[in-house]
Amino acid sequence: MSEPAGSPRLTVGLAQIDCRLGDLDANLERHLAWIERAKAQGVDLLVFPELSLTGYRLLHLTTRVALTPGSPVLERLAEAARPMTVVAGFVEESDRGVLHNSAVLLSGGAARHIHRKLYLPSYGIFQENRFFRPGQRIDLATLPWGRTGVLICEDLWHPELARRLAVAGARLLIVPSAGPGRIGGGDVPASHESWEMLCRTTALLDTCWVVYCNRVGWEEGSFYSGGSLVVRPGGELEARAPFLEEHLLVTEIDLRDADRVRWRLPLLADERTDILGPSA
């Protein structure tokens, strides 16, 4: 895959929104409004949270809000997104009638890349395995600014995925999430402490930009804590959105920063796949 010719510098917007559960029309309207807001702030790449078009805790509503990749809802969103690139979350009905928790990357008026969530949490309050089937592959997406990868929420907790994308050339990881919040005695929501550690560790070890867009709002008495993040290659925190409230976090990033860090810290170049020993 050749590197794209465009500038490696772009303005990222993280749309830390609340969603109406099971209400596609209301959520589409909200996306269109935030797209206009982001355009007004010069955003090039706008990221919405996981399942942003439907809400997260759908349970038996899942089938009622499923969309095929060619659906009018996504066409309308893709058209409205121009000239930006937009990542949005939706329930994808595949051509085999299988439902996936997916994120679509829309650019130039069309869907350029779809990532199907690979790890469906089904423990604690999570029930994704009841309603979705996991995806089977990861791919890079080539944006005008460079190669990127999309991982949805729980996917980031299985670090080999981010590693593979980074080794394959991703300099930016886009992580739409719907992470349920928890509050304890700490300075930030207890749920966020883990996420910030995870995003920073990923950016450190995979020497790439990590943009994590978490949602806010309540569903069935459970909240999402926000605190969306932009983390620099090497793990330094570049920007953090506030907790518990909607926010558009706008940050300029330079994908060449990943290369500059990699020259100093060549973890990816040194990565070995030939080491013998126990396997999973």
């Binding site: 609340d18 109406r20 559960l21 099971g22 209400d23 809400g55 805790r57 759908l58 349970l59 038996h60 509503l61 919040g181 509050i183 304890g184 005695g185 700490g186 300075d187 930030v188 929501p189 709002g217 309540w218 569903e219 069935e220 008495g221 909240f223 907790f243 518990l244 409230e245």
Partner: protein, 280 residues
């Protein structure tokens, strides 16, 4: 064996970041009112810490004019309950009204003369519930619940009485956390400091009914249900065996109160198990 009552190590881990917890709980109330399209909440004010905290959170979320306080004394209710409820209503500046439930309750027990204190107490709790839901209908509002996690786990409530509500901001707060938030919000010390009582008969206290104190209950429940210890492991940490066994037995005996619709499933599309339709 030494009994470690008020074990600071446990209570410290229960302590909340109070500004964050208040921000989350007020957003919960605001979200529930907005998504339901209602005008505000009604709350029964008993003069106790739980209803006072629930009302204070609602006032923070909605402003005092959208929080309607109801004092619902029975003729044997303590004068202190009524005067403390009034103190809270005035402290929070919310519209409030007193409705004496004695005529309704006494009319029933005039034909059920053999009722014991338990039945009479349940009837009072349910009488208050019907009034709150009727007033909610009249005002276009939701009924604000005031049951905390400690009493929910111990089953210390009247089914369809004080445990009935449209939304409950306190249901995941142990009593220690209720006290902590009440102090943080500056509620009058005479309400915060007094011994909790359902006030269903003169001289009643919660801790007298339990046979153990709230600090012990919170610690034991937290170790059992948040940390996942077995009862024997809790006892090994120095808690009184009889108290731990009693807490375990209460939880088991009264857990039915937490699942209020037991529907016999015949169809394969039962409205609970097969149609888990979440509310936003």
């Amino acid at each position: 064996m030494t009994v470690l009552q008020n074990d600071r190590r446990v209570l410290d881990r229960l302590s909340l970041n109070t500004p964050l917890a208040v921000a989350a709980l007020t957003s919960f109330i605001r979200d529930a009112v907005e998504t339901s399209g209602t005008s505000g909440v009604v709350v029964g004010l008993s003069g106790g810490i739980d209803s006072s905290l629930a009302a204070a959170l609602a006032v923070r979320a909605l402003g005092p004019e959208r929080v309607h306080g109801f004092l619902l004394p029975y003729r044997t209710s303590s004068g202190e309950s009524v005067s403390d409820a009034l103190l809270i209503a005035e402290h929070l500046g919310l519209p409030h009204r007193k409705i004496d439930i004695s005529p309704m309750v006494d009319a029933y027990f005039a034909i059920e003369t053999d009722a014991d204190a338990g039945r009479r107490g349940n009837k009072m709790a349910r009488e208050r519930m019907t009034i709150l839901f009727d007033q909610a209908k009249k005002l276009g509002a939701l009924v604000l619940g005031t049951s905390n996690k400690t009493e929910i786990l111990l089953g210390y409530s009247t089914v369809f009485g004080d445990n009935a509500s449209s939304l409950n901001p306190l249901g995941d707060l142990y009593k220690h956390q209720v006290w902590q938030l009440a102090r943080h919000l500056g509620l009058p010390e005479q309400v915060v400091a007094k011994r909790p009582s359902a006030d269903l008969f003169p001289g009643q206290t919660d801790e007298g009914d339990f046979g153990f104190d709230y600090a012990t209950a919170d610690e034991v429940l937290w170790l059992l249900f948040d940390e996942g210890l077995t009862p024997d492991e809790v006892i090994e940490r120095g808690y009184d065996e009889a108290v731990v066994r009693r807490i375990v037995q209460f939880e088991r005996q009264f857990r039915f109160k937490r699942r209020l619709m037991l529907i016999a499933r015949l169809s394969g599309s039962a409205v609970n198990l097969d149609q888990e339709i979440p509310r936003d």
